[in-house]
Point group: C2
Chain length 569, copies 2
């Protein structure tokens, strides 16, 4: 408890109160030896690639995979990561050897809005300040690798441009892990001949780089190198693709990423090992942690709990249609994180959110919000997986509200539901959820992706739009029709589609809450992520470089002479 | 030996042939316990700050300080770092507990020209590929910290600009650790109101950031924080300074640098501990490794061997006039690295260098080059220190050439000189040099900086210009006169001057070899590095963001499935 206010301790206070074990001791019971690790201090380690090769080859384990997803997010956060971490702890409490795999946070957003991305309360991963800052340097390696491609590209253009690259058709922006909005649109190469050729450019957040997606899908150095080489960075004046291979950057970029490919392992507050590795956008990319972490974790555990970004219409859809396909995996059960306040938010059709309203009891508003929950449940069932709703309980929720949700799930939807108190109670607060998920795992499931990769590009887009988003149809604007035609001609049509849509709504209009009907999805552009192996389908503007708010969290941060940090969480 | 060509093995082959010890075992005999270290794998560690506090407080050691500097550099490299590393090894061979402190390389330049910055041959620090790539993340932390200041600044301007910052008077560019010349001059903030206020901007190399200078001068977290807070990032419309404190970024920036402040320790190929920490430009900054590394190393060793950047007119001058003053240190002896080919290069007045000519015997050209060597020796003696000339031997040098240099030093200059073969023979090749330096250390010395900090700004500039560079006087152009007047009015005149001059010549004209006479130094601008605590004096253009050459080294790099790297060295 906080000594000052007698209230619930902060995440940082909880983290500081825990005596962590050496990470080598934490992972040893799961079959990772000290020699399998590259230590980063005593609490963080990377798993060596030869150890991964050995473990995945030796393993005949068919571990159970539990995916954590959520209803349409509110700006307040529903607690998907905290549920993932707590659930991993809970499975261990009921006698299952469970591991956790989650994304690693970006540094940039840390300085914008207060609050870390490593769980919270008694369900967080440690050392939380490291994980939210430099961690093991993966994001920095990605930033450098991304910008090395940019540098090699502009240097090629400056030197003789033998590839005849069209300077207005460069598809590789620069990257930074900082919420620095003034870099979104810039002009580079000013200052005369000696600095090269001026052109329009812009920066994206490192997490939005295709390199991040590639890192999260590669299963070895060789695979990583091949994927990097295929990335399309520009077109020449004939309209032919220019790849990373073409500008001779593949080897050097792979060298920069060789350590970033190794999954990071840390521990939760209760000593459950957690892989925290990779963090691609769930918007222009697939939004889940690395496949290599999933691979090694599922070879070591009875149960692997992992998480997909944003709501189930984005993260889970991509997990099922893209990640499971590429990784040859299937989820044995899915838990959909809901909260009383998120249901009320959708019930009020509230925009922006009014926190006081959301924290006051209102069963009627809550019930109006069920339409959002219901569509998520119904969508997930289309993949043939068992769903358990997790109600992540906040202190302000009334018992009646929570019971209303449980009754709705069980009686109206016919799905299991459990209150989750992992934030306040750690693994113990997730035991009921873990037990219901165990039942779900044991039930027969019949998983399948929603579309065939060999379907036409439009067919795949339309399947997601109508089956998942609830659109009546799809309209193509801007370059979309031409893009689809060109990509089909290039034989780049037999891959999954990675839909880029606002996460604030099932629809492509961020202001529409609940479960919007009677609308049409508007596709504006389709482009290949050839290294990742999917087509990105843009619907409306995508913000790939956020900005800082008027009162950035950074302004309230401090560190004392003894390295105690304040204001970070 | 290289199995392929029978010739001298490459740096990488030599590095791979060595079985390193665990870094904790390497430093233990010097008094660093395992608990004093934060391990980064088995070969790299950071020293904890509380250990440094304990060690420097407990120590009554007055270790001997040997500075390694050089004559005016040639594009071929004279081997200053290799001499520093080899000399540390040599001192250990003659029974002295010697430690080494050198700068850590920037990542950016690695992709431009082949060749690492961690010594070479049998006098290199390991693990050389790590040290030249991400190492322990210090450069990445600096890049992030630097750009957080930029982001906070532009966000302040966008939100309400309450400080009334003049957008055309921002003195804080952005930073990147990549030789990406198209970012030298850019326009940011395009795209309308939502992205902020458009303005001209540019990127510098991270090593050129004032944060790097600050990190290398701070002796604690508290000192680091205070220095960061004082950094001047812009001026308001009244011409008053705007600092990092003013934009509320001090705490967050310090948090990002808390680990980077901890010195890195690794080992040489012969197992001598080497601190590799900090790498400020020797041009707009002071160009030596961190003071905190010097502090801890000199508390642990009998002899500390350290290195200053570029020729003695830049690096050594700043070491004596700035670093020793700030760090309350004095060099007990200086070794000036010369080479036969550098002497011939100056003797030919060659520009650009002709390698074939330089590798052919020519005693006459060599002798003409002595004027460069002589001025360096004479300059160093003005600080009251003993000088030993180290002739870094290359395979092509003839015995007569080497002997001619030794005779010249001993007979004409009256300084000791020794041939150094540390590249080919490791520490054994530096024993004679170490012995002569031991004599120099034992001789009486009478060290003093060359000017008083209380002298006027112009007096300090003119002292360096005439006494060190050999100029006849100084002319002030551009804003220089106004700058000096304003800085004097602001009481910012009682600090050392950090001269920014080309390193290719004693003069401000890069093409003038030897020891130019009859010229006048042209000062164009003077600005404060308030966090570092000196004034930067610009003479001509300073390149703070290099570019890649036509055939970048990156294009020849590769990595195989077993993580073996090629083309990096």
């Amino acid at each position: 408890m906080s000594p000052d206010d007698g209230g619930f301790p902060t995440d940082y206070e909880i983290a500081q109160s825990v005596q962590t074990e050496h990470i080598a001791d934490v992972v040893e019971p799961f079959g990772l030896a000290r020699d399998d690790l590259e230590l980063h201090g005593e609490e963080k380690a990377k798993v060596k690639l030869d150890a991964i090769e050995r473990i995945t080859e030796e393993s005949d384990a068919d571990s159970d995979l539990v995916l954590v997803t959520g209803m349409t997010p509110t700006p307040l956060g529903e607690g998907k990561t905290v549920t993932t971490v707590g659930l991993g702890q809970a499975f261990n409490r009921i006698g299952q050897d469970a591991l956790i795999a989650i994304r690693e946070p970006s540094l940039g957003p840390v300085f914008g809005v207060k609050g870390g991305a490593a769980g919270g309360g008694y369900s967080q991963v440690l050392p939380m300040e490291d994980i939210n800052l430099h961690f093991t340097g993966d994001l920095h390696a990605l930033t450098s690798a991304h910008n090395l491609i940019s540098t090699m590209l502009d240097n090629h253009i400056k030197q003789h441009n033998e590839l005849d690259i069209a300077v207005n058709w460069v598809n590789w922006p620069r990257a930074i892990d900082m919420n620095d909005r003034v870099l979104r649109e810039i002009v580079i190469g000013l200052g005369g001949d000696v600095t090269g050729v001026p052109r329009e450019d812009g920066f994206i957040l490192t997490a939005a780089s295709e390199l991040m997606a590639v890192l999260c899908l590669a299963d070895s150095i060789q695979d990583l190198k091949e994927r990097i080489g295929r990335i399309i960075v520009a077109y020449d004046r004939d309209g032919d693709v220019v790849t990373v291979d073409d500008i001779d950057a593949t080897g050097a970029v792979t060298i920069l990423l060789k350590d970033a490919l190794k999954p990071n392992v840390v521990q939760t507050i209760e000593g459950t090992p957690a892989f925290v590795h990779g963090g691609p956008f769930a918007n222009i990319a697939h939004g889940t942690n690395s496949l290599i972490a999933d691979d090694v974790a599922s070879s070591l555990a009875d149960v692997l709990v992992t998480e997909a970004g944003f709501g189930s219409d984005l993260g889970a859809e991509k997990f099922m249609n893209i990640v499971c396909r590429f990784g040859d995996m299937e989820p044995d059960a899915v838990t959909l994180v809901a909260s009383v306040r998120a249901l009320k938010y959708h019930g009020y059709d509230m925009w922006p959110p009014d926190v006081d309203e959301l924290e006051s009891e209102n069963v009627e508003a809550l019930e109006r919000g069920f339409e959002n929950l219901d569509r998520h449940v119904s969508n997930l069932r289309k993949f043939g997986v068992e769903v358990v709703v997790a109600i992540n309980r906040f202190p302000e929720d009334s018992d009646e509200e929570v019971q209303t949700v449980i009754d709705h799930c069980e009686d109206e939807l016919g799905v299991a539901a459990a209150e989750s108190n992992v934030f306040s109670d750690g693994g113990e607060g997730g035991v009921e959820l873990a037990e219901k998920l165990t039942d779900a795992i044991e039930a027969d499931s019949d998983f399948a992706p929603l579309y065939d990769v060999d379907a036409s590009i439009k067919e795949k887009i339309e399947t997601v739009a109508t089956e998942i988003y609830g659109a009546e149809g799809v309209e193509y604007h801007g370059s979309a029709e031409d893009d689809i035609e060109r990509l089909t001609d290039l034989d780049f049509d037999d891959v999954p589609v990675c839909m880029s849509k606002t996460f604030h709504s099932f629809s492509d209009d961020a202001s529409k809450k609940g479960a919007p009907e009677g609308w049409t999805l508007e596709v504006t552009e389709v482009y290949p992520s050839a290294g990742a192996g999917f087509l990105v389908v843009l619907t409306g503007d995508v913000l790939t470089l956020p900005g800082l708010p008027e009162e950035p969290a950074a302004a309230g941060m401090d560190i004392d002479a003894d390295e105690n940090i304040s204001g970070l969480f």
